[in-house]
């Protein structure tokens, strides 16, 4: 299978990328790892006239970490780099564990976190953990920039609010509060790529004085047209002591917040199971 022809640019700054995106309007695509872009081009699902590579720009493969501000991840940071980053492993363990699950060894060496988000697959594994971490994305275009919460980024299957002239330059992940832990639980199809059928991420903050749940966030992938937060289920947990009955109830509520596009019965039921599992696992980690 061949990649259809295109005109290739390899600019050396984000400004130049923005100028090119402006000049070619909707006819250009940005290249980071290529694991989604070239598959789509080979299958002729998209046929951009122009491909703009980010690989000539310095420092886009950096992970910046700060005890106060949290993480900043550039657009050329691969899944493998996140898996192996010591600070991420320590403070954002379930994010690095999730990235280890994505694709295969080869794909993790090529594919980028930002590319995964821009592809906007409803079953994107990175999305559920990033949603519960209250991640923001920094978007720039020729005449300015904006920073938006990740949950506003996804608008439908493989659709985002990203304008054809915009580019995502940074993933910003705030540092979680003390006494906080997260877990990502998933089930996937039996194949090498192992596309996720249901993914559930839970982030809990427990008050050590009275063991009540100060903060609960639940993110779900593959059970609606975009990755979603299960806000009603979160409210079920907040302010309560996390006993068996409450955990079961929250998992039930989360199940009712899903809107699977296919295999509805299975996906709903497994949402309940995985949310419960992720809550229990997160609680264990805090203890």
């Amino acid at each position: 299978m061949r990649i259809p022809r295109f005109e290739y640019f390899r600019p050396s700054s984000i400004d130049e990328v923005c100028s090119l995106l402006y000049k070619y309007r909707g006819e250009a695509k940005v290249l980071a790892g290529g694991t989604d872009l070239f598959v789509k081009m080979k299958k002729k699902e998209i046929l951009p006239k122009v491909v703009i590579s980010l690989n000539g720009i310095q420092k886009l493969d950096r992970i910046e970490c700060d005890e106060k501000d949290g993480l900043k991840i550039g657009p050329l940071v691969t899944h493998d780099a996140i898996v192996n980053h010591p600070f991420v492993r320590e403070k954002f363990d379930f994010l690095s564990e999730t990235c280890f699950k994505i694709g295969t060894r080869q794909v993790r060496n090529m594919g980028t976190l930002v590319g995964n988000l821009c592809n906007a697959s409803p079953s994107s594994d990175a999305s559920a953990p990033l949603l519960v971490l209250e991640t923001k994305l920094k978007l720039v275009h020729l005449y300015g920039e904006r920073t938006i919460p990740l949950q506003e980024f996804f608008i439908g299957p493989f659709q985002t609010v990203l304008d054809p002239q915009e580019i995502v330059v940074e993933v910003q992940i705030p540092k979680p509060a003390p006494h906080t832990a997260g877990s990502y639980q998933y089930l996937h199809k039996a194949s090498s790529v192992g596309e996720t059928l249901v993914g559930a991420a839970v982030l809990l903050t427990i008050d050590p004085r009275n063991s009540t749940c100060q903060e609960a966030r639940i993110g779900l992938s593959s059970v609606a047209s975009t990755p979603i937060r299960a806000k009603a289920a979160e409210r079920t947990l907040k302010g309560k002591r996390l006993e068996e009955k409450i955990i079961r109830e929250a998992a039930q509520v989360a199940m009712d917040e899903t809107q699977p596009r296919s295999r509805s019965l299975y996906r709903r039921e497994m949402t309940r199971v995985l949310v419960e599992r992720a809550i229990l696992r997160a609680m264990e980690k805090i203890r």
């Binding site: 061949r2 290739y8 290249l31 290529g34 694991t35 295969t104 090529m110």
Partner: protein, 156 residues
Amino acid sequence: MKKQLIELRVNGESFELAVEPQKTLLEVVREDLGLTGAKEACGTGECGACTVLIDGKPILSCLTLAIEAQGKEITTIEGLAKAGELHPLQKAFIRYGAIQCGYCTSGMILNAKSILDENPKPSRDEILKGLEGNLCRCTGYNKILEAVMAASTGED
């Protein structure tokens, strides 16, 4: 589209080539350099037959532009044998019958090499997880696993 002059480092040698930008690294090593060890099977990054190493890390050459592989050290299966002597993994694959049709073998061995370079004594599960992106339709994987285990223990 106009051809562009590029320089690639493959198996320790430098090559200057004129390529169109949409040419994949796989097409260039096979068609321009005559290194036909890397194979195309799915063409979409699922099977691992096209795996080569870039700066020691396994990547999919069917989804990598040749033009983007400049300035990097590329290793194909042809680069593993040294002075006529097969690499220990190649020997182990032969000894354990881990090759049948051979189509997956070059990608499988290169990925296995990168696994052992990173962790010389991986567990059975670590090898399995590491090789999940290389599909084999003949061996049932057991013989491949045995061969990689044998190579990791230094058995010759």
